[in-house]
């Protein structure tokens, strides 16, 4: 892979055309720039040259033999002929060999119609076959995992898949064993190939050897209506292509070089298995298809939204605007969240708007980096984030940057993650001590002496100093952090840290906040925050707010999501709209949240799947959700992209229509929109930072919005660490990508990834408690308890119990009280 910064160029001739390309480019890519297509199998631009299949033979003047264009780096004045009789004959011969034992499976092969082997044979192969003997038979349809099937007869041993596993996902999970006729792609000891990124091999396999089990025989590719759209799981917003046949979901592919232009600014052409195989929710039997009231009577969408709007208005008229609130979701689109905040601020006059349970304010004191900036950084500082579980494709990008672009990775986390492997340095602080560690790092960066941290954070001052020195020594620093995993005042400390790094001499610094959810960045930008208007306008900015939103715009600080729950419990909050969120399971408190919601006079739940929360609702509004609705989302890198619908529902309006009709029910003057881009256009007028965003601007690759500046970074000084009481351990809730929730339900093809509840304990604590790996234990906090299997490991430092959220049934959030305060748990056998 040539470095992106390569500036030297060479000029050569290919088929009589003059080409100038950066030095180090291989002939295949050079030819592509002038529209000459050299056929390949083993070569893949993201994997680099390999040269094992010989499909790309070309004639190079002054070379005695044909050369492989995929490994041939071009040189000055080189003359390459791709269509000389010698080259044509050479390629014909290669194809004859490749097809020697290839089964005549095209009619029943899932790759048929989009198969490079078919295409290359058609264009470059011999007209007639000379191999009319019985072919060598091998195993067909062997499952490599529950979602990937291999047909050994069809494999042409190009090794794309094994190299992908080696170079891109860096798991070396697939290898080529044996030689000659007998060679085959295999996993270690034939274990299932179940990495987080296994599905990508289906896209890159140039034949139908590796196929998507969930798509097996479901349709032929020419039946499909393909929609280039976005994954709706995590914040990376990977570009995917959803294939639909007769309005029925068929498959997901990565938008990559195989079918379109990959979006290198987002996903580099790869997606994770959750994105590929976790799409079953669009046809889940658990979907909310019709609106209904609390008694279960079905309502027409228009009646239901009218009822919701008038009822909420009635409550504000009786009890004041502070008596209603909105809990949104980082899974909504910008349009949906924008319209909801508009409804609540303009029509209902309240700032009780939120979408999260952690602390975060919009805006960064440094630049908001795009995902692509990781590659060009000198250093990546990863704080409290576990990309492998939280934003998988980010994991690939970081590994790529470390392996191929010499990016230094420093990890600062309270748990062991997969990112420790590529990291140049990795510090593990005690659970809950992030504020202190960040304070110490800031001091070190300011060349102040660092206080002792061993006791409280488990990190030596020297380690902090070394890290500070690395940061100081790097030109471009990209800080990636998970705001949801920062407790207490760490959410302020991280901003202070960014400001400090950004303020160092000769330093470029940017940050990528990786919060859970598809559109957490967009949600903040759209003003789903009790203290900020869209575009990060703080309530104190009343002048600007008034010009944009009118003199009536409420300026009284609103309630955060958790405060709304508290006020609901105390009876002060009367009406609440919950949009695509499931507080009963996902919010701290668990069952107590349900109690609070039951006290509300009026609970509207607007969701696409039945949840524990829809069960409590006085009115359920059906949401079509991703797959069915158009909209834009803003990814972790601040890039706004269009999430096009792939499926159509004619019997229910899209969410943006539904919400805008609610607004119109209260204000007949309010605009109605022709399509979702109508809302996008309004956003571009009303949301600072989104001025340039419109339909055409974000077409294809999307476009970064301008990040808002950060309001003043608060305070200084490290907080005193909270002390544990009678041997209790501090709880750390970790994430697991394939959690068994409403999205990945029991019928999901990914159900083999579901895990049982596990608590990770450090050996020291386990010994003190007399617990061994495999023991059934209870994790207890107050009245709440969660059963789990103990695993003794070094995943976290002593003094903590780490429990990944693996399912909704686990009930883990019941253990958590106020997320700002430490949660202490007892482990009981």
């Amino acid at each position: 892979m040539p470095k992106k910064t390569q500036t030297e160029t060479v000029t050569l001739t290919i088929d009589g055309k003059t080409v100038t390309v950066p030095k180090g480019t291989v002939a295949v890519d050079a030819a592509k720039t002038v529209g000459i297509d050299i056929p390949v199998f083993c070569y893949h631009e993201k994997l680099g040259p390999f040269g094992c299949c010989r499909m790309c033979l070309v004639e190079v003047e002054k070379m005695p033999k044909l050369a492989t264009a995929c490994t041939q780096a071009v040189g000055q004045d080189m003359v390459i002929k791709t269509d000389s009789p010698k080259a044509v004959k050479g390629r014909q011969g290669v194809l004859e060999f490749t097809l020697l034992n290839h089964p005549l499976d095209c009619p029943v092969c899932d790759k048929g119609g989009e198969c490079p082997l078919q295409d290359n044979t058609f264009e470059h192969g011999p007209d007639l076959t000379r191999t009319e003997f019985t072919r060598y038979n091998r195993d067909k349809a062997v499952p490599l995992s529950p979602v990937v099937t291999i047909d050994r007869e069809r494999c042409i041993a190009c090794q794309r898949c094994t190299r992908y596993s080696d170079i891109v996902e860096q798991e070396t999970a697939l290898v080529m064993v044996n030689r000659g006729f007998q060679n085959r792609v295999q996993t270690f000891q034939d274990r299932p190939y179940d990495t987080r990124f296994s599905g990508n091999v289906v896209d890159i396999c140039p034949v139908g050897a590796l196929t998507n089990t969930t798509y097996r025989f479901k349709s032929r590719i020419w039946d499909l209506d393909n929609a280039e759209t976005l994954c709706a799981h995590c914040g990376v917003n990977c570009n995917i292509v959803v294939g639909v046949r007769s309005n029925e979901f068929m498959r997901v592919q990565a938008k990559s070089g195989e079918n379109s232009q990959a979006n290198d600014a987002v996903d580099d052409g790869w997606i994770c298995d959750k994105g590929r195989f976790g799409y079953g929710f669009v046809e889940s039997s658990n979907r909310v298809l019709k609106c209904r009231n609390g008694k279960g009577d079905t309502l027409e969408a228009n009646d239901a939204l009218g009822q919701a709007a008038t009822q909420l208005k009635k409550i504000t008229d009786e009890h004041g605007p502070q008596s209603v609130g909105f809990i949104g979701s980082p899974y909504g689109t910008n349009e949906e969240l924008y319209l909801y905040q508009k409804l609540f601020r303009q029509q209902l006059g309240t700032n009780n708007i939120d979408f999260k349970t952690y602390r975060q304010t919009p805006g960064l004191p440094v630049e908001h980096y795009d995902v692509g900036d990781i590659e060009t950084s000198d250093m990546v500082l990863l704080i409290a984030s576990d990309p492998t579980e939280e934003a998988p494709v980010l994991d690939l990008r970081i590994k790529k940057s470390v392996s191929f672009f010499d990016v230094k990775l420093a990890v600062l986390n309270d748990q062991k993650t997969d990112m420790d492997k590529p990291a140049a340095s990795s510090l593990r602080y005690n659970v809950g001590s992030e504020a202190e560690v960040l304070s110490a790092l800031i001091e070190a960066l300011n060349d102040k002496p660092v206080r002792g941290l061993e006791k409280t954070a488990g990190i030596a001052p020297k380690q902090i100093k070394d890290l500070a020195a690395t940061i100081q020594g790097s030109g471009k620093v990209c800080v990636i952090y998970n705001p949801a995993a920062l407790t207490g005042s760490a959410s302020d400390r991280i901003l202070e840290l960014l400001q400090t790094i950004g303020g160092l001499p000769d330093k470029q610094c940017g940050a990528i906040p990786v919060a859970p959810g598809t559109n957490a960045v967009g949600a903040l930008d759209m003003g789903a925050h009790p203290n900020f208007y869209p575009g990060g306008l703080a309530l104190s900015d009343s002048e600007k707010i008034k010009t944009l939103w009118g003199d009536e715009a409420p300026l009284q600080p609103g309630l955060s999501a958790l405060e709304m729950i508290q006020k609901a419990a105390s009876g002060e909050l009367k009406g609440l709209v919950v949009f695509r969120a499931n507080p009963v399971v996902d919010f701290p408190g668990g069952p107590t949240v349900a109690e609070a919601l039951k006290k509300l006079d009026y609970l509207v739940v607007h969701d696409m799947l039945e949840t524990e929360t829809t069960q409590l609702a006085n009115l359920v509004l059906a949401s079509n959700g991703p797959g069915y609705d158009d909209g834009t989302t803003t990814n972790i890198g601040g890039r706004v992209q269009f999430r096009k619908r792939s499926l159509v529902r004619e019997d229910h309006p899209p969410d943006w229509v539904l919400i805008s009709r609610m607004i119109r029910a209260l204000d007949p003057e309010a605009p109605s929109y022709k399509n979702s881009f109508g809302v996008t256009d309004e956003i571009s007028q009303k949301v600072p930072g989104y001025e340039a965003i419109n339909k055409n601007a974000i077409k294809g690759m999307g476009m970064p919005r301008k990040g808002s500046a950060c309001s003043e970074v608060q305070g200084n000084g490290a907080p005193a660490a909270e002390k544990s009481e009678n041997g209790a351990l501090r709880l750390r809730v970790a994430n697991y990508l394939f959690a068994h929730d409403k999205i990945l339900d029991a019928s999901s093809p990914l159900s083999h990834h579901f895990k049982s509840s596990t608590v990770y304990l450090n050996a020291e604590d386990a010994k003190a408690l007399g617990i061994e790996t495999g023991d059934e234990v209870k994790v207890v906090s107050g009245d709440a308890e969660v059963s789990a299997e103990a695993e003794v490991s070094d995943r976290c430092n002593p003094g903590a119990a780490l429990v990944p959220r693996v399912s909704d049934e686990q009930g883990l959030m019941a253990l958590v009280g106020d997320p700002d305060a430490a949660v202490w748990v007892q482990i009981k056998k």
Partner: protein, 163 residues
């Protein structure tokens, strides 16, 4: 003048000759429907799906017929054969196979495209019916295999055969 009259009489006799010849020869018309015409072997009439000697369906649900059909009147959905439920000898079979015979232009491209000789157009040309719905021929209607020139009186509803 005389030669002109002679020419006229000659032409009259030639014409009458044709008339007399045809008066005595067999008529070309047939008394349809009492008598049904034998069609040439490659006539493109109604479609049928074939089976192999063991009774398995030949169709593997590859949809090549469907993509090749110029009027898109074939709809195929495929499924995988299992040991318990083997429908065809290949890996897959057509779980649904429908031809809209009203839209079909009887071009035979589907037969041409089929890699398994599974769909064939035969000499059966009696395609009239009283009900439009029966013209979407499904697998059940297509998997029958009448003898050559063995016509059904009524092409879908009534399965009695006329000899």
């Amino acid at each position: 003048m005389i030669s002109q009259a002679f020419e006229g009489i000659k032409n009259l006799l030639v014409g009458l000759g044709v008339t007399f010849k045809n008066m005595l020869s067999q008529p070309a018309t047939q008394c349809y429907p009492e008598v049904k015409r034998e069609m040439p072997a490659r006539y493109r009439g109604r479609h049928f799906l074939t089976r192999d000697e063991q009774g398995f369906e030949n169709c593997v649900g590859c949809e090549l017929c469907a993509i090749n059909c110029p009027v898109s009147c074939i709809h195929v959905e495929a499924a995988e054969n299992t040991e318990e439920n083997r429908v065809s000898l290949g890996e897959r079979y057509a779980s649904r196979y429908e031809i809209n015979l009203l839209r079909c232009i009887y071009c035979g491209y589907c037969e041409e495209a089929c890699p398994e000789d599974a769909i064939i157009l035969r000499e059966h040309y009696e395609l009239a019916d009283y009900d439009r719905d029966v013209y979407v021929a499904d697998k059940e209607a297509l998997l029958v295999y009448p003898k050559p020139n063995e016509f059904r009186v009524n092409f879908l509803g009534n399965t009695t055969l006329k000899n």
